[in-house]
Amino acid sequence: MPARFPAERSETAFTDYKLPLLPAQAAVEAGRCLFCHDAPCITACPTHIDIPQFIRKIAGGNDRGAARTIFESNILGMSCARVCPVEVLCVGACVYNDLDEPPIQIGKLQRHATDRAFEEGWRFFEAGAPTGRRVALVGGGPASLAAAHELRRLGHACTMYERRGFLGGLNTTGIAPHKMKADRSVNEAEWVLAIGGVEMRTGAEVGRDVALADLEREFDAVFVGIGLGADSRAKAPGEDLPGVLGAVEWIERMKLGDAGLSGVRHAVVVGAGNTAMDALRELLALGVPQVTMLYRGTEETMGGYAHEWQAAKEAGARAEWRAVAGAFEGNGRLRRLRCMRVDAARAPVEGSEFALDADLALLAIGQSKLGAALAGLAGITVESGIVRVDAHGFTGRPGWYAGGDCANGGKEVVNAAAEGMAAARAIDRELAAGGGTGRRGATHA
């Protein structure tokens, strides 16, 4: 499925924020790695890539072997190298942080090896001997892609349902373009599925075009990786005015087409999570002169990573702390936000009202949860819209598994990859033990 996004998209204006290593830099950086025993960086990576081993291979000039080590644990290692918040994962755990020396640039080294694999067309994995078992994957994002790849290695036939016309989920539509652009995620999905044997049903929404009951009838197991839903709304007057958008919705527009920023002088981003951090940096990079974050808490309580907020500040973002939007105002289009301060208990502070003139407001206060779609299936528990699963992605209903944002409430691509892989292995074990949905009349109620 070729990427057919327009060549001229707002996101193409971005260049990489973290520059790739030159080969000589990679060799020097790799040579610094201590090859720690029971390395903390491995523990910190949700997919537990054998980091010292792949770095050692780079140091010894074996990039191909390094790439294999990475993909062995994380088939999405190419995009993870770009999009992982390494500061709080592998790099944050590197022992060098405890010396007065910079930690190993693990993400960049991972990029060095995996980019080469893509450039040189290296492939490492083959489909396993056919088991005759069929598994459905609902959603075509990182979680399902990782699950499908592992299921194919184990020999199970796969069918992937994706309601959109392209793959990659939020990895395609959500990632800040200074980390990765949409076509790269789509190319990665194709590279992953080149293992073969995954039947694609794009444009097919499960629950609307395909019934859950049909999946249960036709497949031995189902993996649900549907991610999160639309941006949450502020529930404040005027939020339907043109100029008030969900942040994820706007980011997708900016990545796949035109960001629609002409004439925007002041943009306000409501919320202080990582989506807000990305939106702030994106708006500034695209030339919006004034960008303000509005957050009901403080710098200490914000959900966005400190390193992301630091970068947003350096790019020119300012913040209104302990402030909420009471109303969005304007004549046919957003002109102003009516705001007020809140105290530590988030109660409005009397007489603290103030106005922010703005022509764009992005709501980055979370995304809706889609778990309700499964609530009708006996055995599956959905809590606050999140599908409850065990450590292997098992939902409690024979043959039904879930992973990624829909089951973890919204984490990172690397978590989705880890959970998809773990679920694939658990599905394999369940099917090998004669379990599954009962397509073949397995003995469960």
Binding site: F35, Q53, R56, K57, G60, G61, N62, G65
Partner: protein, 422 residues
């Protein structure tokens, strides 16, 4: 997928990477963990009459920021009871029947050799390695390198071992000799099935300049130890190659000395080793280092089209020649790629002070100029240049036909005019 399996003097191994006889191969539990990690075989820590060790025992040679670039030790052979070692050999063989265990031995009398060889083979040894190499402690007792330095003794003990043994016998040579060849030939005459080399090199690793005692320090004294690790590789490569190219030698070689990664191993193989043994790198980083060794070797073999390890063993031996057979008329000069040059002028200093004064600074640029009419093609500038690919040594067609020194001496073959002899 290339086949990594090897045969060294009749000892078959699933891959060419063996633990050398040393602390990483001290016990059954360790060797089993090593096999788990992917090592092909192991040479058990030398058995003999158990000794007692001193503390401390090791010294490290730090070069710049590289810790343990060289390493030395004053440790002796096993300090564990023979029965314990033998029992663990049997247990390990039971669990890992396809990974060879070579038992390293060092005793004195013919009767002791007969007894320990029988017990080792009964325990399950796939091969024996006679330790004629330890340069400290044991040689004062008439063993180790005291044997390896005396071809007649080496040959006699080897012949005893071969007489008593029903499994292949490797002789491990000491590098503490002026010419390795007579020692390899002595082992061959004694009936050895293969040679392992090198053991450690006599050394003092460092001196404590505050206490005025060499290292490693045992109280107020020290002694000479055995040098090994990355820094000894060039010496080991030479000794391996010297035997590999010796007409009439022809025994399989297990190469040892400074192997850190797959590339080092490939170099040993191209110079004639069918297996390599590793001690120091495992001591410094653990058994896991074998993964890159195997993986990198496999990639290398694939890229070169070698289907089996044997296809590459000794590939570079024919190109290891005598000085007198080198072409005196082959000429290279240094070329500087101005686009890559960073202007450090290390090459200027090196050439001016350490070579032939033919790299010169130029007006108006930091990029130096090579006076090719004076450049002798020594490589020094290329070795010091920090910019990858910046200085290359380019072949010059000087119109002279090839002529070696030996050709010149024997029948007056014409040599090109000398350069840089001003």
């Amino acid at each position: 997928m290339p086949d990594l399996s090897t045969d060294t003097g009749g000892i078959r191994s699933p891959n060419p990477f063996w633990l050398a006889s040393a602390p990483p191969a001290n016990s059954g539990a360790q060797i089993q963990r090593a096999f788990d990690a992917g090592w092909g075989g192991a040479v058990w820590k030398t058995l003999g009459t158990p000794i007692q060790n001193v503390s401390s025992r090791f010294g490290g040679h730090t070069i710049g920021s590289v810790r343990g670039a060289g390493f030395n030790n004053i440790e002796l052979i096993t300090d564990r009871p023979l029965e314990v070692n033998l029992r663990e050999i049997t247990e390990t063989k039971k669990r890992w029947p396809h990974n060879p265990i070579i038992v390293s031995l060092m005793v004195e009398t013919r009767e002791e050799w007969r007894d320990i060889i029988k017990r080792s083979i009964d325990a399950g040894a796939d091969g024996l390695e006679l330790n004629f190499g330890c340069p400290h402690g044991m040689c004062e007792r008439g063993m180790g390198s005291a044997v390896g330095q005396e071809p007649a003794v080496n040959e006699r003990i080897t012949s005893w071992a071969c007489e008593f043994s029903t499994v292949p016998v490797l002789v491990k040579l000491t590098p503490n000799v002026s010419d390795i060849v007579p020692h390899g030939m002595a082992a061959k005459r004694g009936g050895a099935h293969g040679i392992s080399l090198i053991n450690t090199i006599k050394s003092i690793i460092a001196v404590d300049i505050d206490r005025f005692v060499p290292e490693p320090r045992v109280g107020s004294l020290s002694t000479n130890g055995g040098y090994c690790g990355a820094a000894v590789k060039p010496i080991a490569l030479h000794m391996v190659a010297a035997l590999a190219r010796e007409p009439g030698f022809g025994l399989p070689i297990s190469g040892i000395g400074g192997v850190r990664n797959w590339r080092d191993a490939v170099e040993f193989m191209l110079l004639g080793s069918s297996t390599v043994q590793v001690c120091t790198e495992v001591m410094l980083r653990g058994y896991r280092v074998v993964e890159d060794m195997r993986d990198g070797l496999e990639e290398y073999m694939r890229s070169k089209g070698f289907g089996r390890v044997q296809d590459m063993v000794g590939k570079a031996v024919p190109a290891f020649s005598e000085w007198g057979d080198l072409d005196m008329n082959y000429e290279t000069v240094a070329r500087i790629d101005a686009d890559r040059c960073i202007g450090c002028q290390l090459c200027v200093a090196a050439c001016h002070d350490g070579a032939h004064q033919c790299i010169h600074p130029q007006e108006g640029t930091r990029v130096p100029r090579v006076d090719e009419s004076e450049c002798v093609g020594c490589n020094l500038c290329q070795i010091v240049c920090p910019a990858p690919g910046c200085i290359t040594m380019e072949r010059v067609d000087n119109g002279h036909r090839p002529a070696t020194w030996n050709d010149h001496v024997s029948h007056g073959a014409a040599l090109r005019p000398k350069k840089g002899a001003h």
